[in-house]
């Protein structure tokens, strides 16, 4: 399994905020994608309303996922492909290893896939003695550096050209260069060798189509086409929710996906893959396998409050507008999925208590929903998660995160409903605050148990005269 470090959220976020290079990169990234994506929705033939149509298509698919997945599998079988349904990451990995063994696979080229990150496929394959190469340029850089991606679409956004130049000169044994076109050419050269020598290619899937039995894979670089074309075997991984019923559903969704992901009208390559090569075809894989993964998704599906999250097509548009992501970057989230989408998905997948800081850290500003190509109400779900954290929840096994806070709020809520008690405490506090450190009418530090409130903000001091009193005088 992949190592989840959501508990380091606060510490990692602190580090990220101090990292000047990262701050600049994140700001540039949001500038580059955020406004152009919004503009690209405006320019759609149907206008931004198309997002609502797309949301409806996705929701219908999710609510009928049983028959849609059956149809998908049936059609892929008919096209000569294999389908494996994996309950969890372990089963998916075991299946992948079995296929690799059957074909005596020594070298694998990987197209970017968040699901395989989620289940930690790489480690398992490497442990089995297989040479695994990430082929998306950003992912390749991250792999050479021994790190994890920090953005869904731009995994190496936190790396500078100097760092990459140094990395390449060490790992690829070339002179130190920093020019992006030259660096890209070096990667092209190194990876081409890998593509041509690989026995197996793996990929994710952006969105499948049940009625035809195809998976659509999208890329700008062409690496996914390479991985799905040149090796003998193609193994594709898909989260069970990434499917729609009909071909025409792809019209709205492909257009929105390309816009949401990179403000493009169409990504350079979109391939619909339905099976292995057929008789007489010169190239393409001999065998095609699709691994459909649950890994906690059916639990999300069962809860109507969170079902909507399964409409997500992992385009990263919400990361590109999120004010929190902009400051803390992807690594702080401590798991595969970062940003607003991660703040909801990660707690639901790994445990709400364990990943509690993720949903507490977001601002509820709503920018994510406006940017989302399928209009997912992330703020609503963040609130729902916070409610569970405050009150506890037996279905999701949540223990109240902070009993002290809950106690304080219970007292507070009782107090404000009792006017005379409230007035008394107000007077007491107005008097007591004089001994607290203050600056320009703001209190710098509250005493325990309220000290957390002023840890990273000042609090306005209580006025000498309450509004009620002044009102009476008027």
């Amino acid at each position: 399994m992949i190592k989840i470090t959501t508990e380091n959220y606060v510490a990692e976020a602190r580090k990220a905020i101090k990292n000047q290079v990262l701050q600049k990169a994140l700001e540039d990234l949001q500038q580059r994608f955020g406004p152009p994506t919004a503009l690209s929705y405006q320019k759609l033939l149907e206008g931004p309303e198309l997002r609502l149509i797309a949301q409806d298509i996705r929701m219908q698919a999710i609510e009928n996922l049983d028959i849609i997945l059956e149809k998908l599998a049936e059609n892929i079988h008919q096209n000569g492909g294999h389908v494996f349904f994996a309950k969890d990451g372990q089963e998916a990995i075991e299946y992948a290893l079995q296929i690799a063994r059957k074909h005596n696979v020594k070298r694998i080229v990987k197209g970017k896939s968040m699901v395989t990150e989620e289940i930690g496929l790489n480690t398992a394959l490497i442990d089995a003695g297989i040479d695994v190469t990430e082929t998306d340029l950003g992912e390749y850089i991250i792999q050479l550096a021994g790190e994890h991606p920090s953005h869904i679409i731009a995994p190496a956004v936190h790396k500078t050209r100097n760092e990459i130049g140094k990395l390449f000169s060490e790992k690829l044994d070339i002179p130190f260069i920093t020019d992006p076109p030259k660096l890209t050419q070096e990667a092209r050269k190194a990876l081409r060798k890998k593509f041509l020598a690989a026995d197996m290619g793996t990929s994710g899937c952006n969105l499948a189509c049940a009625e035809t039995g195809h998976i659509a894979v999208v890329s700008n670089e062409g690496n996914i086409r390479m991985a799905a074309t040149m090796p003998r075997v193609h193994l594709a991984f898909i989260g069970m929710e990434r499917v729609v019923a009909r071909l025409e559903d792809h019209d709205a969704l492909v257009r929105l996906l390309c816009r949401g992901a990179a403000a493009q009208k169409m990504s350079t390559y979109v391939s619909y893959i339905g099976g292995p090569r057929s008789a007489g075809q010169v190239d393409g894989p001999q065998e095609f396998h699709l691994i459909i993964l649950d890994n906690g998704r059916s639990r999300i599906l069962a809860d109507e409050e969170f079902r909507e999250m399964l409409c997500c097509i992992r385009c990263a548009a919400c990361l590109n507008v999120c004010p929190v992501y902009r400051k803390i970057g992807g690594h702080s989230y401590g798991s595969t999925y970062s940003g607003p989408v991660g703040a909801v998905v990660t707690p639901l997948l790994v445990g709400i208590n364990q990943a509690k800081d993720l949903c507490l850290g977001e601002t509820l500003c709503g920018a994510c929903q406006d940017a989302c190509p399928v209009n997912i109400d992330i703020p609503r779900m963040l609130l729902a998660l916070r409610f569970k954290l405050a009150e506890g929840d037996s279905v999701w096994n949540v223990t109240p995160a902070d009993r002290k806070e809950k106690a304080i709020y219970s007292v507070w809520s009782w107090m404000i409903r009792h006017r005379s008690v409230y007035d008394f405490f107000l007077r007491l506090a107005a008097f007591g605050q004089n001994i607290l450190p203050q600056k320009e009418g703001m209190i710098r530090r509250l005493p325990p148990p309220m000290s957390g409130w002023t840890q990273s903000r000042d609090m306005k001091a209580i006025a000498k005269q309450s509004f009620m009193k002044r009102w009476k005088k008027l």
Binding site: T135, Q185, G222, T268, A279, D283
Partner: protein, 258 residues
Amino acid sequence: MYKSGQREFINRVKNALGHSADNMERKRKFFDLPMSEKDRTTLKGIENRTPEEKEKLLETLIEAAKPINLNVIVLPDVSSVTTAIVDLVREKEPEWGDKKSVAAWKHPLIASLNLTAALSEQDVSVYFTEFEDGQMEDDLPIETREKLRQHIIDSYIGITSADFCMADTATLVMRTRPGQARSVSLVPLIHVAVIEIDQIIADLKELFTLIKWDAEHQKEGLTNCMTFISGPSKTADIEATMVHGAHGPREVYLFVIS
């Protein structure tokens, strides 16, 4: 072989959704629906497109091609395309090594270019990606397949046609068939595509409607690999600098015969 895990999996999904076992009703709602009035109108629109409308689409295509650095060249006939390709081959240098060779689809339009003869002057070989004698079976000697693969890898220009080109996004649409290898548009440094103006359609909606409802296209469906190509391969993974030719072709030329 491994058991597929399907039944258990689907039951878990069914339970999560609270659906009963009977799902014929829901299936009917989604699949095997008859053609709608809207689909009919779309098909009619494509079928009855006037020459002026086709010119319009071509203009849209040319505009859409600019921001993605796709070179669109409109030429009056096949022989001028041949000349243009011969010039391109003369002008462009190979990426790996210095021997120039070209890989091309077996396709009627490409065949009519007579490239083998036209390029023999420059001593450039043209490899067509087909099995000899139209061999269809998969029990071909492994060397036959290997040899073809090597030819494509060694070629620095790949020449294909396409099934369609979507004007809205300047996107070539290719389906896979014997003789029309996928890697020709992918592995060589330069991709050249040749189409006729009639192959231009408006957008994704027209494409999907054609594939789903047009009698001829319906038969073939998507095939086992349908690829959209919009311009040359690109990446911006290093400090957001746009670079062409990440893994796929660095340059794409689209010749439209009009």
